[in-house]
Amino acid sequence: MTPRHIATGLVALAALTLLALVPRLVNPYHLALAISLLQYTVLATAWGLFSGPTRYVSLATTAFFGIGAYTVAVLGEVLPWPVVLLIAAALGMVIAALVGLSTLRLSGVHFVIFTFGLAELVRQLVVWFEVNKSRVLGRYVFVDITQSDIYWQLLLLAVATFALGWLIKRSRLGFALRIIGEDETVAAHCGINTTTAKVALFAISATIMTLAGAIMAPRWTYIEPSIAFNPMISFQVLIMALLGGTHRLWGPALGAIPLTLLFELLGARFPNTFTIIFGCIFLLIVYLLPRGVAGLLESLRIKLRGAPSRQVVA
């Protein structure tokens, strides 16, 4: 432990304490905004956790988010809150493992196609079940959870996500995934079981997304399949992670914060042309920032340090 490590740790601790105090300090509107920021930070970071190293594009974020939300809608009144969260997490993990096992052995494009429709598929199945078996479409969420509780739980989830990401990077799994991302054939020849590694990471990432959905559910008093499985969530998370840069653990968060604020602003002010603006932002990021803000910062840092030292390194 160098002094620098200790300093970083102290700053992080201070920042966390400050963040934890937010619900006591701000008005309800800003608390709602803070919740949105945390929600997208968690989702984008979880997305980057899997898609960053493997370079698989997943469009299934909202499928897991919705599964979490629906678990709360169904079980929220029946079981104690921690048990509901545990069940949601388990459900998300099992479904992700099934999806991963059947699609991650195939090429990346097949995975994109499958995840593209997964949220829609789950939505149709939930609608079918509700209409035919439980005979209700749409449920009320009555649980004793305040906005502040939601905020704190999300903050905890965010910290856990970052900690988990940090641990994975330093583990054998993280190393294996980096090789898979570079070249899957090479990875297979090194004796890495590429499928197991990918499925494991996909399941971890999906579990975090499911938990985020479960925690967010009490924010709506009424829930129905089209709200829980809103495809826009998948697209927004994808573009946030791209803006931030997925090759760093903290990258997606860099994209999540400005874009959440921007979407909040645009959605309120230009509801009719929001889709067009969203598409333009998407294209701009893909063309101008292929490695995201994190990649931009890194190349800036190399430039600032000067060319000579770089030549020595090279």
């Binding site: 370079r55 594009v57 059947s102 699609t103 195939l106 090429s107 990346g108 494009v109 097949h110 994109v112 196609i113 499958f114 593209f116 429709g117 829609e120 598929l121 149709q124 199945l125 609608v127 079918w128 209409v131 035919n132 495809p231 697209f235 791209l242 009719n272 042309t273 929001f274 889709t275 067009i276 603006i277 969203f278 598409g279 333009c280 932002i281 998407f282 294209l283 893909v286 063309y287 292929p290």
Partner: protein, 289 residues
């Protein structure tokens, strides 16, 4: 039973047509076009506008919509996708980039249609009288659309297998770098094939609009079905595309009439996964890797 199979075949013919353009775009130009369904809906709106505003029959409208769609798709490839083709170091990188770029494009096209036409459902009545076939009753517009589909598919198949240009297109699909060695202009062939795919999807949009209600946001469904069919049939394979489309249509119709209409998407995915797990290259695809 006959009714279900007949409906399924009609539905499948439509699916096959909607997927044909995508199999060219993805198989030859290597562009995974996620804005595909949006272009289909745009053509449907164009046809609606020509029919209600100018009383132009959709089949004559095709003669107008197809060249415009060809030009627009060519421009999209040149302006939007060529930079990505140049930037991409590997085929996988191009796939990811094209997915993301066409995704952004999908939102722009969809948003434009939403602000032009709103979120309402549109339809118009054309050739809407019943025809008797094999003891069953079918709407004439569906039958006409199917006939045009078969015609387009046959022309495309013959053009690809019997002409010099078609041979060049197939060569690029199999191996772009080897095609270059035998003096095929790969960049030009890719651009033209992408544009041809765009023309086909526009044709599909016009035909679909004669018998289906559509809205500005229904493009995604078509993109998804087309993707599933393309992968199932073997990427870049017209014949596989037709058979996979028919297979999907028939199984959907059977499930809808005998099990539950709410489960059609589940059927799509079940078929998709089954085919991929058994034959990862698709029903008629050759394993290339």
């Amino acid at each position: 039973m006959t009714n279900a199979i007949l409906t399924g075949l009609m539905l499948g013919g439509m699916y096959a047509l909607t997927a044909m353009g995508l199999t060219l775009q993805y198989g030859v130009a290597r562009i995974m076009n996620l804005s595909y369904g949006e272009f289909l809906i745009a053509a449907a709106f164009a046809s609606h506008w020509l029919f209600t505003g100018w009383a132009l029959s959709p089949f004559l409208g095709l003669a107008l919509v197809i060249p415009v769609a060809f030009a627009v798709s060519f421009a999209v490839y040149k302006l939007l996708l060529t930079p990505l083709v140049r930037r991409a170091r590997t085929r996988d990188a191009l796939e990811v980039d094209s997915i993301l770029a066409t995704f952004g494009l999908a939102f722009i096209v969809q948003g434009s249609m939403l602000s032009l036409f709103g979120g309402a459902y549109y339809s118009y009545s054309y050739l809407a009288f019943p025809v008797h076939l094999l003891g069953e009753t079918i709407a004439a517009n569906r039958l006409a659309a199917l006939a045009v589909t078969i015609l387009l598919g046959a022309v495309l198949y013959l053009a690809l297998t019997r002409t010099r240009a078609g041979t060049a297109v197939r060569a690029v699909a199999v191996d772009p770098s080897a095609a270059q060695l035998v003096a095929i202009d790969v960049a030009r062939t890719s651009a033209l094939t992408f544009a041809l795919g765009g023309a086909l999807v526009a044709a599909a949009g016009v035909l679909v609009s004669t018998f289906l209600t559509f809205s500005a946001s229904s493009g995604v469904v078509f993109t998804m079905k087309a993707l599933i069919i393309v992968v199932m049939g073997g990427i870049g394979n017209i014949l596989g595309c037709v058979i996979a489309g028919l297979l999907l249509g028939v199984s959907e119709a059977l499930v809808a009439s005998f099990v539950d209409p709410g489960l059609t998407l589940a059927v799509n995915f079940a078929l998709f996964l089954t085919v991929l797990l058994v034959k990862p290259a698709g029903l008629f695809g050759r394993a290339t890797r």
